[in-house]
Symmetry: C2
C-alpha cells in the first residue's frame, strides 16, 4: 500500500464527483414529465438504446475475454519468463478498464434517456429549466466518467505502484471505446441519414415527424452514438493520458507521480465547481452559458494548480507551465474549430454561398475549408508539445517527455466539463425530437431549437478539444512506448527517420486511419441504404402512414433492428484491422518500425480527424444557415445542395472522424502492451 | 572536364531520343487535316493554349529571376563566406532548369495541338492511324522531356562534377513545374466544370457541343493542364531523382555516379524502343497497346541494365536489384490504381451502385474507396524503400540511402514511355472534341471515343506511377538533404522522432499538402463559378445560340480569358505558401525540424495525392459506367448523381492531386538548397 497525499485526494475528489453525479441523477429523475404520448415515445427510445447496448456488450465481452487471455500470456512479460502474478493483475486491470468504460456508457444512456423527456417537458416553463435538465443530465455523464478514471488510476497506484497496470486498464477502456464509438457512430448515422433522406428530402416532412419509421431509431442513435460513444472516447483519452504520464513519471520519481495526481484531481475539482455553477438566465444565451462554464473551469484549474505548485516545495513551476500550456492550447484548438464551423463565421457563409452553385461546389468548398482547418490545430498541438518539452527540458534527462505528458494532462484537466457540455447536445437534440413527436406546441419547439443550436456550437468546440487532447495524449504514449522499450532492453533508443524500418513503419501507420475510417463510412453507407429500403417498404405497405391518418403508426422497431444488427456487424472488422496490422508491423519491423508506425498513425490520424470533424460541422451549419433564410432559404436549390453536403458530413463528423481519435489511442496502447514481444522477436527489427 | 563512358552514352542516348522526337514531330505534322471547320477550331485551341502559356511564363520569369538572385546570394554557400563562382553556376543551373522545363511545356503544347486535329482527321481512315497520330504526338513530349533532363544532368556532371548544381537545376525545373501544374490544373478544371455544368447538366447538350461558349476553353485546358502540366511534373520527378542519386553517389565514389547515368541512359533507350514499336492492329484494343508498350519497356530496361551490370565488374548486382525493385513497385502501384479506378472492377461498380441512392452516397462511397486505395500504394512505396535499403546495406555505410535513390531511378527509368502514354490522353480527348465540333460523323466519333477511353485507363496507371515515383524520389531527397547537412556540419545527423523539434516539424509538414491543395481547389471553385456566370450571360444575350441557329457563334475567347486570368491569379499564392512555410520552419527549428517537416510532408502528401487521384478517377469512370447503360443509364437520377461525383473528382484528380507531387518535390529541394543556412542560423535548432 502506497498512500500519498495526492492519491488520497484524488480518491476524495472522485468521491465528491460521484456524489454530484448521484445528486444530479436524482434531481433530473425527480423532474416532471409532460402529459400525452411523449412519455411512451421516450420509453421507446430508452428501450431501443438499451437493446443496442446489451447486444453490443455481449459481442464485446467475447472480445475482452480473448484479449485478457492473451494479456495473461504476454503482459507485462511473457509467462514462460516467469512472473504470472503480474500478468494476472494486468489481465484483471484490463477487464476492469473495459467494464468501467461499459458502465460509464450504461450510466450515460440511462441518464440521457431520462433527461431528454424531462428537458422537453421543462421547456413548457421556459428556457432556463429546460437547459438545466439537459445540462445536468450531461453532467452526470461527465462526473461519472472522469471520477471513475481518476479513482481507478489512484487505486492502482496505491495498491500496486505499478504503472504498467494503468496501461492495461487504459487498454481495456480504449478497446471498449473503439468499438463503442465505431458501433454507436455507425448506428446513429445510419438512422440519421435514412430518416433525413426519406423524410426531409423525399417527402418534405419535418425532422422528427412521427410518421417516419426511422425517427425513433434516429433518436436512439443520438444516445448510443453521441452520449455513450463520445463519453467512451473521452474516458479513453483521459485514462490514456494518465497512463502515459504515470509510466514516464515512474522512471523519474515519486514527486512526479504526485504531480500527475495533483493536477488530475484539481482538474476534476475545477470541473465540479464549473458544473455546479453553470446557469443560464431566463432569456439568456445557452451557448454562452456552455462556453462560459468551460472558461470558468479553465480559470479555476489554472489557479488551483498554480497554488498547489507554489505551496509544495517539491513541485517545479516549469511542470505547472507545461500543464497550463496544454490547457491553453486545448482551448485555442476548440475555438479554432468554432471558427471553421460557426454559422456566423466566414467559412460557413462561403460554403452556403457555394451551395447556390449546386452540390458539387458544396462538397468541394466544404472539403477545402476542412483541409485548411487542419493547419491551425495541428500547429497548436505541435507548439504545445514543443513548448512543454522545452519548458521542462532544463530539469534533466527524461523530463522533456514528462512535460509533454503533463501538457496532455493539463489539456484533459477540464474534461469533466467538456463531457458535460458534450452530452448536453444529444439530450437536447432528443428533447427537440420529443417535443415535435409529442406535439408540445410551437413555444416549446422554439426553446428546444435554441437549446439544440447551442448544443451544436458547443459540440464543435468539444470535438476540436477531443482531437487535440487525443493528439497530445498519443504523443505522450509514444514517449511511454519508448520508456517501456528502454526498460525492457536496457538501451537508450531513438526512432531515426532515416532508418528505413522507421520510415517503413511511418508509411504503413499513415495508411491505417484511412482504411479504418473508410470501413466505417462504407458501413454507414451499406446500412442506411438498407434502412431506406425498409422505410420505403413501410410507406408503400402501411396504409395511411404517408398521409398521417390518425392512429396509423410505423413499425419503429424494424428500423432500430436494422441499425443495431448492421452496426454490430460492421464494428468488429474495422477495429480488428487496425489492431492486427499493428501486430504485423511490430513482428516484421520490431520496435523501430513500431515507433515510426505510431508517429505516422498519429500524424494522419489527426489530419483526417480534423478534416472530417470540421468539414462535417461546416456542412451542418451551412445547411442551418440557409434554413435560417439565407441564400434562398428552405426549399431552394441551395438548400437541397446543402442537405447533400450535410449528409456527406454526417458520417464524417459523427462516425469516422471521432472514431479515429480512439483508433490512434488503441494502436498506441497495443504498441506499449506488446513492446516487450517486439523487442524480443521480430523479423527485421 | 570529366568524360566517362556512361555520361557520354547518356548524351548519345539523349541525342537519339531528340532525333526520335523530331522525326515523330515531322511525321505528325505531315499528316493531312480533314476539310471543314475542324482546322479553324483547332487553331483556336492552339492560339488559346499559347496565349495562356505566354502569360504564365511572363509571371514565372519574374519569380525565377527573384529566386535566382537569392540563390546567387546563398547557394551552395553564402557569398559572405566567399566562393561566388560556385553560386553563379548554381544560379545559372537554376535558370537553365526552369527554362528547359518551360521549353518542354512549349514543345508539348505545340505538338499536342497539331496532333489532336490530325488524330481526328485520321480517324476517318480507321482506328490504327488515328491511334498512331495520338500516340506519336504524345511520344514527342515523352522523348523531349526525358532526353533534356538526362542530357542536362550529364553535361553538368561532365563540365563541373558538382552534384549541387544538379540540385539547383532540379529546383529550377520543379519551381516551374509547381506553377505550371497548379496553373494548368486550375485552368483545365475551371473550364471543364463550367462546360459540364452548363452544357451537360443544365441544357442536356452533349460534351464538346460547339454552342457551349466554354467548349474551346475546355479543350485548351486539356493541353495546358494535362500535356504541359503532367509533362512538367514528370520532368521534375525525373530530374529530382537524378539529383538525389547524384548527391548521394558523390559521397560514395565514381562507380556509383556511373551507375546512375548507366541506369538512366538505358531506361531512356528502353523507352525509345518501346515508343518506336508501339502499334495497334486495325481492330485492336488501344488500351492494351498502351499498357503493352509499358510492360515491354520495363522488360527491356530490366534486361539491358542486368546485362550492363554483369558486364561491368565494378557494378554491384545488389544495386541493380534496387533499381529493379523500384521499377517493379512502380508497375504494381500503377496497376493498383487501375484496380481502384478501372470500370470493369468492383470499386467502380460499387460506386455506380451507390449513385442510385443519390449524390451523398456517391460522394461517400467514392471517398471511402479512395481512402482504402491509399494503403496498397503507400505500402508498396514503403516496401520498395525498405527493400532497396536492405538489399544495398551490406555494401557499407552510406550505401543504403543510395539504394533508395537507385530504386527511384529504376521506377522513373521508363518515364519516357509513361509521359508518351500520358500525353496521348489529352490529345485523343481533344481529337474527340474536334470530331464532334467539326461534324466528322458517327463513325469517327465511335473511334475517337474508343481512343479516349483507352487514354483514361492509361491515365489511371500513369498517375499512380507518377505519385509512386515522386514518393520514392522525395525519400531519396530526404537522404540528399541529410547528406548536404552532414557535409556542411561535418557531423553524422539523424532525425529522431522523439526529438520535439523533429516531431514539431513533422506535424507542420503534414499540414502543408492540405492547405496547398485546398487553395487550388478553392481557386477552381471561384473561377468556374465566374465562368458559369459568363456562359449564362452569353446564352441569355446571344440570340439563337441556345437553339443552335446556323451561323450563330458564342464568344469563346471570353471564356478562355476568364480561365487564363483566374488561374494565373491563383497559382502564385498556393506555391508561395508552401515555400515560405518551409523557410519559416527551417529558421525556427533548424535542420532537425526540417527533417521532420520533410517526412511529414511526404507522408500526408502521398496520402492526399493518392486519395484525390484515385477517388477522382473512380467517380469519372463510375459516370462512364452508368453512361454505358448500367444502373439506369444516361439521364437517370443515378447518372445525375454520378455527374456530381465526377465534378467533385475533377479538381481532385486533375488539379490538387497531381500538384501535390510537385509540391513535395519542391519543398524537398528548397530544404536541400537552404540546408546550409538552417544549419548555421535557426532559433531553436
Amino acid at each position: 500500500m502506497m498512500w500519498t497525499l495526492w492519491t488520497i485526494l484524488s480518491l476524495v475528489v472522485s468521491a465528491l464527483a460521484i456524489g454530484v453525479a448521484v445528486y444530479f441523477y436524482k434531481w433530473v429523475q425527480a423532474l416532471p414529465v409532460a402529459e400525452g404520448n411523449i412519455d411512451s415515445i421516450s420509453k421507446l427510445i430508452r428501450k431501443g438504446a438499451f437493446t443496442f447496448l446489451k447486444r453490443e456488450y455481449r459481442i464485446l465481452t467475447v472480445f475482452v475475454g480473448i484479449v485478457s487471455i492473451l494479456l495473461l500470456i504476454v503482459f507485462p512479460s511473457p509467462v514462460w519468463k516467469g512472473g504470472i502474478s503480474e500478468n494476472i493483475l494486468a489481465a484483471v486491470s484490463y477487464i476492469a478498464g473495459a467494464a468501467l468504460s461499459a458502465l460509464a456508457g450504461y450510466v450515460g444512456i440511462s441518464i440521457a434517456t431520462l433527461a431528454n423527456v424531462r428537458s422537453a417537458s421543462a421547456a413548457k416553463k421556459g428556457l432556463a429549466p429546460s437547459y438545466m435538465a439537459g445540462f445536468r443530465g450531461g453532467a452526470v455523464m461527465g462526473m461519472a466518467v472522469v471520477s471513475t478514471a481518476l479513482a481507478a488510476a489512484a487505486l492502482l497506484q496505491i495498491l500496486t505502484g505499478n504503472a504498467d497496470l494503468v496501461i492495461a486498464f487504459s487498454f481495456g477502456a480504449s478497446s471498449l471505446a473503439l468499438f463503442a464509438k465505431a458501433g454507436g457512430g455507425i448506428f446513429t448515422k445510419t438512422a440519421d441519414i435514412a430518416a433525413d433522406l426519406t423524410g426531409k428530402v423525399e417527402l418534405g416532412i419535418p425532422e422528427d415527424d412521427p410518421r417516419n419509421p426511422a425517427v425513433i431509431a434516429d433518436n436512439v442513435g443520438d444516445n448510443v452514438g453521441d452520449v455513450a460513444g463520445m463519453g467512451a472516447d473521452l474516458f479513453d483519452s483521459q485514462i490514456a493520458s494518465l497512463a502515459a504520464a504515470l509510466v514516464i513519471a515512474a522512471s523519474l520519481g515519486k514527486v512526479e507521480i504526485e504531480m500527475v495526481f495533483c493536477f488530475s484531481a484539481l482538474g476534476l475539482l475545477a470541473s465540479i465547481i464549473g458544473v455546479l455553477f453553470a446557469r443560464v438566465g431566463p432569456s439568456g444565451d445557452p451557448g454562452k452559458a456552455l462556453n462560459g462554464g468551460t472558461l470558468l473551469t479553465c480559470g479555476i484549474f489554472a489557479i488551483l494548480t498554480l497554488a498547489a505548485t507554489l505551496l509544495t516545495p517539491e513541485f517545479n513551476i516549469r511542470i505547472w507551465g507545461a500543464a497550463f500550456l496544454g490547457m491553453l492550447v486545448g482551448v485555442i484548438i476548440g475555438f479554432t474549430s468554432e471558427f471553421f464551423t460557426g454559422d456566423d463565421k466566414k467559412p460557413v457563409e462561403k460554403v452556403a454561398e457555394a451551395c447556390k452553385s449546386g452540390p458539387a461546389f458544396t462538397i468541394l468548398s466544404g472539403i477545402s475549408y476542412g483541409l485548411v482547418s487542419i493547419m491551425p490545430s495541428i500547429i497548436g498541438i505541435g507548439v504545445a508539445a514543443l513548448g512543454a518539452y522545452k519548458l521542462v527540458e532544463p530539469l534533466g534527462v527524461g523530463y522533456p517527455m514528462f512535460g509533454i505528458s503533463i501538457a496532455a494532462i493539463g489539456m484533459l484537466s477540464i474534461v469533466g466539463m467538456i463531457i458535460s457540455n458534450d452530452a448536453y447536445g444529444p439530450i437536447v437534440d432528443n428533447a427537440r425530437g420529443l417535443a415535435e413527436m409529442g406535439n408540445l406546441g410551437d413555444d416549446v419547439l422554439e426553446i428546444t431549437d435554441k437549446l439544440d443550436a447551442a448544443g451544436n456550437t458547443a459540440k464543435a468546440i468539444t470535438k476540436g478539444f477531443a482531437i487535440g487532447a487525443a493528439g497530445l495524449t498519443v504523443i505522450a504514449l509514444l514517449g511511454a512506448f519508448q520508456e517501456i522499450v528502454e526498460s525492457v532492453t536496457g538501451e537508450i533508443i531513438s526512432f531515426n527517420l532515416m532508418d528505413p524500418l522507421v520510415f517503413f513503419g511511418t508509411l504503413v501507420g499513415a495508411a491505417i486511419p484511412a482504411v479504418f475510417s473508410a470501413m466505417l463510412m462504407l458501413g454507414v453507407n451499406r446500412n442506411s441504404q438498407l434502412m431506406v429500403q425498409e422505410i420505403h417498404r413501410q410507406f408503400d405497405t402501411i396504409e395511411g402512414l404517408k398521409e398521417g391518418k390518425p392512429g396509423v403508426m410505423p413499425d419503429y422497431n424494424k428500423c432500430i433492428d436494422i441499425a443495431t444488427v448492421g452496426s454490430i456487424k460492421e464494428l468488429i472488422p474495422a477495429g480488428l484491422t487496425a489492431i492486427v496490422i499493428t501486430l504485423v508491423v511490430g513482428f516484421i519491423g520490431g520496435v523501430q518500425a513500431m515507433g515510426g508506425y505510431l508517429a505516422g498513425n498519429i500524424v494522419t490520424g489527426l489530419f483526417l480527424a480534423l478534416l472530417m470533424s470540421n468539414a462535417g460541422g461546416l456542412w451542418d451549419n451551412a445547411k442551418k444557415y440557409i434554413e435560417a433564410g439565407n441564400c434562398g432559404g428552405k426549399g431552394s436549390d441551395a438548400h437541397k445542395a446543402a442537405v447533400i453536403g450535410d449528409t456527406v458530413g454526417d458520417p464524417f463528423k459523427d462516425t469516422a472522424g471521432p472514431s479515429i481519435n480512439t483508433q490512434i489511442t488503441v494502436v498506441s496502447l497495443v504498441a506499449s502492451i506488446t513492446a516487450t514481444l517486439f523487442a524480443t522477436f521480430s523479423i527485421f527489427g
